[in-house]
Amino acid sequence: MELVLAAAIGILAASGVWLLLRPRTFQVIIGLTLISYAVNLFIFSIGGLRTGADPVLHEVAGDVAQYTDPLPQALVLTAIVIGFATTALFLVVLLTSRGLTGNDHVDGEDGTP
């Protein structure tokens, strides 16, 4: 389990970083999306992986060990929403840069339009 998830995080991060270093705005935006998946999974996994644990408290709470760790979940939940907001912002910056420079290069300097 851990091994698979760790490999997955690594592949997501690697793909994201590769795209991050590309010259086109769209590549960078997809790269950031992939990196945010990797980071979210990473933060989520910090508390250890649990399958089949209860995410919601029972009427009689009982032992806390039977529940999943809520803290990383709360952190990642906000991270997902903020990630959405930054993606939107970046997309608009992309459009703006496209409007101002006439091309989709991250530095706005490109021979081809």
Binding site: M1, E2, L3, V4, L5, A6, A8, I9, G10, L12, A13, A14, S15, V17, W18, L19, L20, L21, R22, F26, G31, Y37, N40, L41, F42, F44, S45, I46, G47, L49, T51, G52, P55, V56, L57, V64, Y67, T68, P70, L71, Q73, A74, V76, L77, T78, V81, F84, A85, T87, L89, V92, V93, L95, T96, R98, G99, L100, D104, D107, P113
Partner: protein, 966 residues
């Protein structure tokens, strides 16, 4: 009202009035002026109410607790000295209010002017009443800020802007030093309370940090009070409207520095360092200011340099080190404030009536404005130190103190000579000021026909001139008790005996005065022509502090930053990102070598199904990476696939809340990017030839990316295998139901335990949405930058070719069936969103998920039916949603304050509702409703703003505004 509540009232009044003035800015300038005068008079009356207690030697204290654990409370402390300053600030404030009503032109934005003056008054009162030194620095900086705004009031003039900037940089830089000094002082004394620091004088002076502390505090005081070598900002500040100059730059704000010196004299004074620095700086400023004032041609310039000189005199008095010197300093603070602000107002009146302030152009105004001339004559005589006026008394005390000082024979002689010389210069510039304006021949070519200013403009000048006279004739009666209370408050039991009599007999100080007076008159008589002939003061003008300052500003604010920027390797994003990634890689690698983690693979735990799932996910990720350049849609779909796989992993790993949120965010993000895709230029594989450079770069990046991947994977694995310490999660699990009233711990954390974080987060969301909206409105790509899609062009050709067809005919039944389904489903989706919202506290769901769900319903409608269809039927007001959501969240948080609980404390109970049964009702639900509304508004705002970019314009008006707003 009990006495100890009055300080708070006095402090709050001006600020409240400032806000009020600002709010009623449409209602003419009369009200603003009278409001200012009334506020100042009320402050004065309240201060006078305290008179019996203060004159009896009491110290009033009012503490408003704030961050007590840090030693920071709002402490207002009024003793005799601060009371005297309060009388000055309020009294002169009232006069300035009356004066400014007639001085300022109704065409100026007067509400701003009076609001700033009022706010300044409040800040100045804050300085003198502060019982906590950090609080003192706070108000200190506020006065710098309002002074900046007032100097730059006529911001169309370059000199006003430059003067304002210079004053702000010098005084707030000094304020920064003061803060550091106060922190040190508080550290040494063990408390930031003024009383504790005043009591810790011996400990402070004996401390090894005494010298740095002293220097920092003095830097603050010297910059504020325009002492050499920081004096240059004050003449530049004369671009301020004259009422502001009279108030801030002669009577009150510049006195804050010497106020501080007097206030902290018992703590920091009495040492050799103090005498040398304070006395020396005061001496230099005294003579330099008086010297430069003689050569000024601008009336306000003369007064500005004279103010510098008199502030130097006060500083020197404090620096001499005797208790009598401190008494004289306090006395001169008051005297200088009265005669100098009256002279400033007179200068303003002349400027107002004659249209110029140039001493060379003016003259003989006595004949046309006799009252103003007489008043200015009285105040000018006080400035020169003529007997029977207040300036004479404090100057006598000053001479007596210089004679009594014992710093060594040579130094004593020098200071006596300089004191007499500066005094003679003072006589010279006073004569030049009064004679040059009011006597002699009246020039024929004045810009305006001068006549006497209105009565109420003369009144403040007259009042202050009368005060000069009264204090000068009957000092014991008029100012005696107040001065005794002020001196007693500073000096305590050490208050020396002094006499305020006008006539002390034929003493050495009197002889010095007479000598200075005669010398000054002779100097004026002999150099009269020369003063008029030269532009700047000889000798000193070469060392212009102003030029040095501008030079330094150019070096520090332009040259150096440019040089540093040139050191930076690149301005290009690509190489910057490369550096960031490489540095992160390096840091991670170093950390891995120093703290080895357990990387041993643990094969048996691998679940084949999970592995298969991620095989798909990995393929999606790599596919997205490889396709993002030429096949953007494919890349988007593939990255969505990776998102879905991570969503499935959340389900697998018992995190349903995350899975739901991730799924919905995935949907919205995809729609968002789809909307943006259209605006990107087409890119075809193999179109542009690829050089070796690109190939090299690509290979290099693949290596870097793989290194990052391996690093992150091992780190993640090590982190997962690391035994989990007992974290605070246990706390949340145990208290979620008991104290938060919810079974869904994640949601309870979000809306209750960590509600403040969530509040911050929805604020970020709202800000981003507004930014998106604003950016798109302002910078959207021109519609013609992208040609219409292939399909649309074909369709247009087809329709144009077929006569009798309406425009966009083929779109009439576009997506008919899906559109109908979506239209029917939209309410259901909204209902589902509400369901998610309501159950959020106990089951997976909550404000975030519900908000996005509702937004999805709406955006589906947009997609299926088109923006115009939706907007003609549904009023979507995303901005209202955002505003209402944020407001609700904040108000819910504030609600708990009403019950005496901290911000965002939640309360819950179960409510029995018919049909629904037990419904958990927590105030957290209201907060979550705020989150919900904000998320709905923000998401819709972003999506709609983008959608409107691609809105098809009606073909009938092809030249219409690009994009259009539907």
């Amino acid at each position: 009202m009990p006495d100890n509540l009055i300080p708070g009232a006095i402090l709050c009044l001006p600020f409240a009035a400032a806000v009020l003035t600002w709010l009623m800015r449409e209602r003419g300038h009369n009200r603003a002026a009278w409001l200012m005068t009334a506020t100042a008079l009320l402050g004065l009356a309240l201060s006078l109410w305290l008179a019996p207690a203060i004159l009896a030697g009491a110290v009033l204290r009012q503490t408003i607790p704030w961050a007590g654990s840090l030693g920071l409370d709002l402490v207002l402390r009024v003793d005799g000295f601060s009371w005297l300053m309060m009388l000055l600030v309020c009294g002169i404030g009232a006069l300035v209010g009356v004066y400014a009503r007639y001085y300022m032109s109704p065409d100026d934005p007067l509400a701003r002017f009076f609001a700033l003056l009022l706010a300044f008054m409040g800040s100045m009162l804050g300085i003198v009443m502060s019982g906590n030194v950090i609080q003192l620095v706070f108000f200190w900086e506020l006065t710098s800020l309002f002074s900046f705004l007032l100097i730059g009031y006529w911001h169309n003039g370059a000199s006003a802007r430059d003067g304002a900037r210079m004053a702000l940089i010098v005084t707030s830089g000094g304020g920064f030093c003061l803060l550091a000094g106060m922190l040190l002082l508080g550290h040494i004394a063990g408390s930031y309370e003024l009383d504790a620091i005043l009591a810790a004088g011996d400990a402070v002076r004996a401390h090894p940090w005494y010298t740095p502390t002293l220097l920092l505090v003095l830097l603050g005081a010297f910059t504020k009070s325009a002492q050499f070598p920081f004096h240059f900002w004050l003449p530049q500040a004369m671009s301020a409207p004259t009422p502001a100059s009279a108030y801030l730059h002669s009577a009150t704000m510049v006195k804050a520095g010497v106020f501080l010196l007097v206030r902290f004299w018992p703590v920091l004074g009495g040492t050799a360092e103090w005498s040398w620095i304070v006395g020396g700086v005061g001496l230099v400023t005294l003579i330099l200011g008086a010297y430069a004032a003689m050569f000024e041609q601008d009336m306000k310039g003369v007064l500005a340099y004279s103010t510098i000189s008199h502030l130097g005199l006060i500083t020197m008095l404090v620096g001499l080190g005797s208790a009598l010197g401190v008494v004289a300093a306090i006395f001169h603070i008051v005297n200088h404030a009265t005669f100098k602000s009256s002279l400033f107002m007179a200068a303003g009146a002349v400027d107002h009536e004659a249209g110029t302030r140039d001493l060379r152009k003016l003259g003989g105004l006595y004949r046309v404005m006799p009252v103003t001339a007489t008043l200015a004559l009285v105040a000018g005589a006080a400035m020169a130190g003529v007997p029977l006026l207040n300036g004479f008394l404090s100057k006598e005390m000053f001479f007596a103190e210089t004679l009594a000082a014992r710093q060594g024979p040579l130094l004593d002689a020098i200071s006596v000579v300089i004191a007499v010389a500066a005094s003679a210069f003072g006589v010279t510039y006073s004569i030049r000021f009064v004679r040059g304006v009011f006597f002699g021949r009246m020039p024929a070519d004045l810009p305006r026909e001068p006549h006497e200013p209105p009565l109420w403009m003369r009144f403040p000048i007259g009042f202050l001139a009368l005060a000069c006279l009264l204090v000068g004739v009957l000092p014991g009666r008029v100012i005696g008790p107040t001065l005794r209370a002020a001196a007693g408050a500073v000096l305590g039991a050490d208050t020396p005996a002094y006499s305020l009599a006008v006539w002390h007999g034929l003493t050495t100080p009197l002889l010095m005065s007479v000598f200075a007076f005669v010398a000054g008159c002779l100097l004026f008589a002999s150099l009269r022509r020369r003063f008029d002939a030269i532009e700047t003061a000889p000798l000193t003008s070469r060392f212009s502090g102003r030029r040095l300052f501008e030079r330094a500003l150019a070096v520090f604010a332009a040259d150096w930053p440019q040089r540093i920027e040139r050191l930076y390797p690149s301005r290009r994003l690509q190489s910057q990102l490369l550096w960031i990634v490489l540095l992160a890689l390096l840091a991670g690698g170093l950390a891995a070598t120093t703290a080895p983690l357990d990387f041993r693979p643990h094969w048996p735990s691998v679940d084949p199904a999970f592995a298969l799932l991620w095989l798909l996910g990995a393929a999606c990720a790599i596919g997205a990476a490889s396709q993002a350049k030429f096949h953007r849609l494919a890349a988007l779909v593939l990255s969505g696939g990776a998102g879905l796989v991570s969503c499935a992993s959340f389900v697998w790993l018992s995190a349903p809340d995350l899975a739901a949120t991730q799924l919905l965010v995935e949907v919205v993000t995809t729609i968002l990017i789809l909307l943006g895709l259209r605006w990107l230029p087409k890119r075809i594989a193999g179109y542009a030839p690829e050089g070796w450079r690109q190939r090299f770069r690509r290979r290099r990046d693949i290596v870097i990316a793989m290194a990052v991947g391996v690093g992150v994977a091992s780190l993640a694995y090590a982190a997962m295998m690391h035994p989990v310490a007992d974290s605070i999660s246990r706390f949340f699990l145990e208290r979620a139901y008991a104290e938060g009233g919810g079974h869904n711990v994640v949601n309870v954390i979000l809306v209750d335990f960590r509600g403040f974080d969530t509040l911050g987060e929805i604020s970020v969301l709202a800000i981003v949405a507004l930014t998106v909206f604003a950016l798109l409105r302002r910078f959207r790509p021109a519609a013609e930058s992208i040609s219409a899609p292939e399909q649309q062009r074909q369709q247009t050709v087809l329709e144009n070719g077929a006569p009798g067809r309406a425009a966009d005919h083929s779109l009439t039944d576009y997506l008919m069936i899906p559109g109908l389904i979506i239209q029917l489903m939209a309410p259901v989706i909204v209902l589902f969103g509400l369901h998610l919202f309501l159950r959020g506290h106990d089951l997976p769901g909550g404000g975030f998920v519900a908000g996005i769900t509702v937004a999805v319903a709406l955006i589906l409608l947009y997609m299926a039916r088109g923006a115009r269809w939706v907007e003609s039927r549904l009023r979507v007001l995303p901005l209202r949603w955002i505003g209402a959501g944020l407001l609700l969240a904040v108000l819910t948080g504030l609600g708990s304050l009403a019950f005496g609980r901290p911000f965002l404390t939640s309360h819950f109970q179960y409510l029995e509702l018919p049909l629904f049964g037990d419904v958990p009702l927590a105030t957290a639900l209201l907060f979550d409703l705020g989150v919900f509304a904000t998320v709905v508004g923000a998401t819709i705002l972003m999506l709609i703003a983008l959608a409107h970019q691609s809105l098809r314009r009606p073909r009938q008006a092809p030249t219409a505004e690009t994009g259009g707003q539907g």
